[in-house]
Amino acid sequence: MKPIAQLIVTAATVAFSTSVIAAPAPASNEAPDVLVKRVSTDVIDTVKADKDIQAGNRNKIMDLVNSKILPYVDAQKMTQQAAGRFWRQATPEQQKQLSDEFRTLLVYTYSGALAQIKNETVEFKPFRASPTDTEVEVRSQVNVTRGEPITLNYRLSKTAQGWKIYDINVLGAWLVQTYTSTFTSEINKGGIDGLIKRLRERNQQLASKPLAAPQK
């Protein structure tokens, strides 16, 4: 009973997220730093105001990620960069499956991170880019109650639907680069289909796992 319900929920969220991605993002001429600032403030405020999310309510968090974050993420570019030279060897069908699975994995990871927001504040650093740039970096830091501030930087590229995030840097490490060697070694082991299979298995595993322990 439970796995089936989970499967349905996952299928529904994936379907929903795909439809969100397909829909045109609003305010396509918004400047990249303004966009990141708006989205992150919006998300943090929502989490702080919602006790269910803080308690780890998976559906609510997934809704939040799907509606407020995914429209601004270029999952294909992200996957393409992580796959590197293997991307061109993949068929269009494989490319699609790969970026779908990778995006789902990131959604799960991100959902887990969102449930942990408590008293953190985000501070944006001065943004500098020329109007002709098509790739920019927006830099921020998360000030936490104890310890050093956490670096949180975003790379965005200009698309027909406005600026989209394709890489994030947490604590000095870029997400795409961190996944690159995982992708490489999985592809070396079992080909592109092997990597897709690994990602799919992990996603199913995560779907059936409670999201976060309730906060104290």
Binding site: R146, L171, A173, T178, S181, N188, R202
Partner: protein, 308 residues
């Protein structure tokens, strides 16, 4: 950057070779990742550390987090964090970062006294941020390359350079100079449990995100470490400051140019039209014939560049 590494390579090579040979005893395998030639050894250590973590450290940290009152946890964390500020300050000075060095020294002084021996962190709210520099970063600053990735038993991810620096960091850690051995050892345990507790959520996330945790931690760690040594963030801030300075200079130059132009504009009535021909060719030409009647005209002409 390359040059610095090249010169450092020379100095560090002896140490790297010695440590590498003695520690690893040929536990190397041919692998894809050039930064991780000791992958076989490292993976074995990782498995060992993971077992220790699963059976002892993580349960202890979880219990500590759930049972101990939050203010106690914060106090413990602050206390050891305060001790580390002293060594961090020394390393900042060793990297010629005087501002950060004084900042950390002040943190230590303020928190040790007014903060009741470091239990309260009153420096942070006062705007004195923590920096966390260690000897490995200092070596990196002076050009010593990180060398291969190294997974240390119990201590976790490191590099050959940072492993070489570890005894220095131990020496620089005031807690290791506590003479009472039971106190010292229990302090080390408490600190380990407290640190593990503070990354519990993050480590749970990591388990979700990584297909191969070993690779994920390695690649994340090496990137983070490199960015810390190079101070990518601070370098960007510095670049920002330089850029602002340049902008200011540019503004001043423009101001000067405008002032000169204004002066020229005032003088222009007397001088031939050569210099301001570019500024106001349209307005200038009809006036050329009636030079003596000009006095009211220069004012609008000279204000034009300002509007630009």
């Amino acid at each position: 950057m390359k040059d610095r590494n090249a010169s450092g390579q020379f100095r560090a090579r002896g140490l790297v070779v010695a440590i590498g040979a003695s520690l690893l005893l040929g536990g190397c395998a041919s692998t894809a990742n050039p930064q991780d030639p000791f992958e076989k050894f490292n993976r074995a250590m990782f498995t060992f550390n993971d077992a220790v973590d699963r059976t002892a450290l993580k349960p202890a940290a979880t219990a500590y987090k759930n049972v101990t009152p939050t203010f106690v946890q914060t106090g413990v964390n602050n206390f050891f964090s305060n001790l580390s500020d002293l060594w961090s300050s020394a390393n900042n000075f060793a990297q010629l970062k005087g501002g950060d060095g004084f900042n950390d020294l002040t943190r230590f002084a303020v928190n040790s006294t007014l903060g009741l021996g470091g239990v309260l962190d009153i420096a942070s709210p006062a705007g004195l941020r923590k920096h966390n520099e260690d000897l490995g970063q200092t070596l990196g600053f002076w050009g010593v390359p990180p060398g291969p990735y190294l997974m240390l038993p119990l201590l976790g991810p490191s590099t050959v350079r940072d492993t070489v620096a570890l005894p220095g960091d131990w020496y620089g850690d005031p807690w290791t100079h506590v003479n009472d051995i039971p106190w010292r050892n229990s302090g080390i345990v408490v600190r380990a449990v407290d640190q593990r507790a503070s990354v519990l959520d993050a480590s749970n996330l990591l388990e979700d995100a990584a297909l191969d945790r070993y690779e994920f931690i390695r690649d994340g760690y090496l990137q983070r470490r490199a960015s810390r040594v190079l101070d990518t963030d601070k370098a960007e801030e510095r670049a920002e400051k330089v850029q602002k300075g340049l902008d200011k200079v540019q503004d001043k130059v423009q101001e000067k140019v405008q002032q000169v132009q204004e002066k020229l504009g005032v003088n222009k009535t007397g001088t031939p039209d050569g210099s301001n021909a570019a500024d106001a060719p349209a307005a200038g030409t009809p006036d050329a014939g009636s030079a003596p009647n000009n006095p009211p005209v220069p004012a609008p002409v000279s204000s034009q560049p300002v509007q630009k």
